[in-house]
Symmetry: C2
Subunit: 444 residues, 2 copies
């Protein structure tokens, strides 16, 4: 079960820099108000992600086709970026062997970039005839995904069979990818229109790749259900994560760090980083999410976290037990700097380092909290996804901003299309020519 531990955010543990010890009682009304808004919004059709744990019309089709894909293909390439990639990637990293592609089939690749060197390298290693392409874009208009789709469509047309090797995940009705799926008779799945990209991990966007990778998607959904039920109470992990971070943000803690101490959970930090940044960063406000990884970043970021400005809230993500156990052998016992390690396990070492870091931060009066799982499991990842999604909405409502939109990315998209020569954006092209390309470029 996922637990949020927040004692080390409070004055009783870290002194006057922390949250007042009665912060929860003081904000019970605020939470009740937000809770009501969320329920009202949900009933109106907003916050579509909240129904996903309970409504999965395509679940059986997903499972069936996943079995088929595992048998037929040597590689699966996911074409998707942002919300169309990060959830499935986090699931892959959580449950598959870290060196999966070196010896497992089907290999899986998440192509969330358009770097020509990277794409060329991918073409080097796959056998196009034995490759399935999953094209994921909610709008069906994402430039990166569409350009990759054009490339792979061309390759498969020459060497294989597009109808059998391309699956589309997009809006059920709208957008060019939906029309193409119909025209070309591609297998397709739907992203519910009321679920935004960064909240879509529990739609086919995350579930189909997960099922292909043999991840137990029933357990994943069960975890999300359980969390959804826990969140009917005002005192739940999602609201508490949101409230503590909101209050600390108001106190000037504008950098929020997610710090997994489990290598397999590093992708959760990337997934959360998009969710938190894109949902809350607007109207001149918003915390900056930062991902870190234990123990690695003790040797990179910890100095700053310990002695830098008082602007960070650090949330560890931990497990009570790892899925394997590994001994540290005893050698070179005469050396005091080595002797204390041998005879322990790596499990003890990583657990101890996390505890020591937590203690050191607490001693330095730095606010820190913990999201703790029993073990990395689909159930607990389901809890995690739902919890942080709801926390994001809750925090956004407290900040009085809209956590569901992303107006700030539109201008860059228009400029891209203008520079790529799209007719409708001629005005933007002229603007760039008249203004941007004439800016003085000091350099050294």
């Amino acid at each position: 079960m996922l637990t949020y531990k927040f004692g080390n955010l409070m004055q009783k543990n870290i002194g006057s820099h922390g949250l007042p010890d009665d912060f929860f009682e003081n904000n019970r009304e605020l939470l009740a108000e937000i809770h009501q808004k969320i329920n009202e919004g949900f009933n109106k059709g907003d916050f579509g992600f909240m129904k996903l744990p309970f409504e999965q019309p395509e679940l059986d089709r997903i499972k069936k086709i996943a079995v088929d894909i595992r048998q037929k293909f040597k590689s699966v390439i996911v074409l998707g970026i942002g919300g169309s990639c990060l959830g499935a990637l986090a699931l892959h990293q959580a449950f598959n062997h870290p060196f999966h592609n070196q010896f497992s089939s089907p290999q899986i690749y998440f192509l969330d970039n358009v770097d020509p060197e990277l794409i060329q390298a991918l073409l080097d290693v796959i056998e196009i005839k034995k490759t399935l392409i999953l094209v994921i874009s909610k709008s069906g208009k994402t430039a990166e995904t569409l350009s990759q789709f054009l490339l792979f469509f061309e390759k498969i047309k020459r060497a294989g069979s597009p109808k059998e090797q391309i699956i589309i995940i997009t809006d059920p009705q709208k957008g060019p990818l939906r029309e193409i799926a119909q025209e070309e008779e591609f297998v397709s799945f739907s992203i519910p229109p009321e679920v935004g990209g960064r909240y879509s991990v529990l739609t086919p966007v995350g579930l189909l790749p997960a099922a292909i990778l043999k991840i137990d998607i029933n357990a994943l959904l069960k975890g999300a259900q359980t969390m959804a039920k826990r969140c009917q109470e005002i005192k739940n992990p999602a609201y508490l994560y949101a409230l503590t971070h909101f209050l600390l943000l108001q106190q000037g803690y504008n950098i929020h760090v997610l710090f997994p101490y489990v290598y397999a959970l590093r992708g959760l930090a990337d997934w959360w980083r998009q969710l938190w940044a894109e949902s809350l960063g607007k109207e001149g406000k918003g915390p900056t999410p930062v991902k870190a990884l234990g123990v690695t970043d003790q040797h990179s970021q910890l100095q700053l976290y310990m002695e830098g400005p008082l602007d960070k809230v650090i949330t560890f993500v931990t497990v009570k037990r790892f899925r394997s156990r590994l001994d540290i052998p005893i050698h070179f016992a005469p050396f005091a700097d080595i002797a204390y390690l041998g005879g322990h396990t790596f499990n003890e070492l990583i657990y101890t380092e996390q505890t020591a870091t937590e203690a050191a931060l607490t001693k330095a009066k730095r606010p820190n909290a913990k999201l703790e799982m029993d073990v990395v499991s689909p159930f607990e990842l389901g809890e995690f996804f739902y919890c942080l999604e709801l926390a994001t909405v809750c925090c956004g409502l407290m900040m009085r901003i809209n956590p569901l939109n992303q107006p700030g990315v539109e201008l860059g998209k228009r400029y891209t299309q203008a520079l790529m020569g799209r007719e409708e954006y001629q005005n933007e092209r002229l603007e760039l020519t008249d203004w941007f390309f004439n800016l003085s470029q000091d350099e050294v």
Copy 2:
């Protein structure tokens, strides 16, 4: 040649939020003073990294042994963390195929974590008899590296030959690893005592792994030399990067983003992130470094960068040309949302997206700059490493802090050793038992 472009940090391009247009002239004296301090410090023996482009006593040995290793081994595992990993990892990512380990020999693994699941997974994929272990720790006391060393020493002792399969890189005289290297007659290389871990990429720490991976280390050093010479002038990329970031930090821009638009350069951001955080984050001060990756993070962080608080300075890292060229084919031309892509190249697309993002940020009056290379090459990475190292020292001196130490990580290390049962740290163990483990742990 590496160029720093900083026009979009200035008022003439982004309005009143930017740096005054005469910031350089206004701070010429400050830079001259810092320049003198750096030269004096260097002459006293501080800033040891500054001599590395010119003094490489072990270079021939490195090259010779690298050839030998490539012939003999199927895998190379680097045991090192923080500064003992990030430079070599960045070089590997810059110059090797992104899926190197799937078909190239020797495979290379950077084991900068003690997660038992990860280490077990690595044991699954290597053949211990045909594996070389590079143990890297400047102090020779790093808990993570030593515990891994114990594990691999045990495995190799049973199945192979430690003397032939283990190489040590550590202090030339001091520390347990140096003593062990002598006792066991391991091949070893030295990290000059006056070069700190995070400044050590141009010592055997970075050079030996690079040479094993066939990276041209002469060109790397040549690039660093060239940058060192450029930095004899006051107006150089290192000092300008430092000065602009220092002045913007004083204006409240406390989050510094490095945003490569080249997949191969993602590791440079990790390397820089350690350097900037650990060097500058102390005495309650210091910017928070954030790494991002183009184009991927346009779909994750750009909303925040465009419309969040005015607290970020964003530095793109770009290349004028990529090392491969890939066409976007023409299909589905009736769809306006697709038609504008076909007929271009992915090279144009990524270049255009970077330009569009830069223009959008500039339009939104957000300070942004650019570190531009011609192409990813060892020479230009040599320039980059030296430039950012010197920039870090320069910025630290402007901030009046010591950019070479990391006092804030000591407490966590002591707590770890205390909890692992090391005798000398009994007091810390008692402290933790009396205090930390008794803290009230509110949870939900």
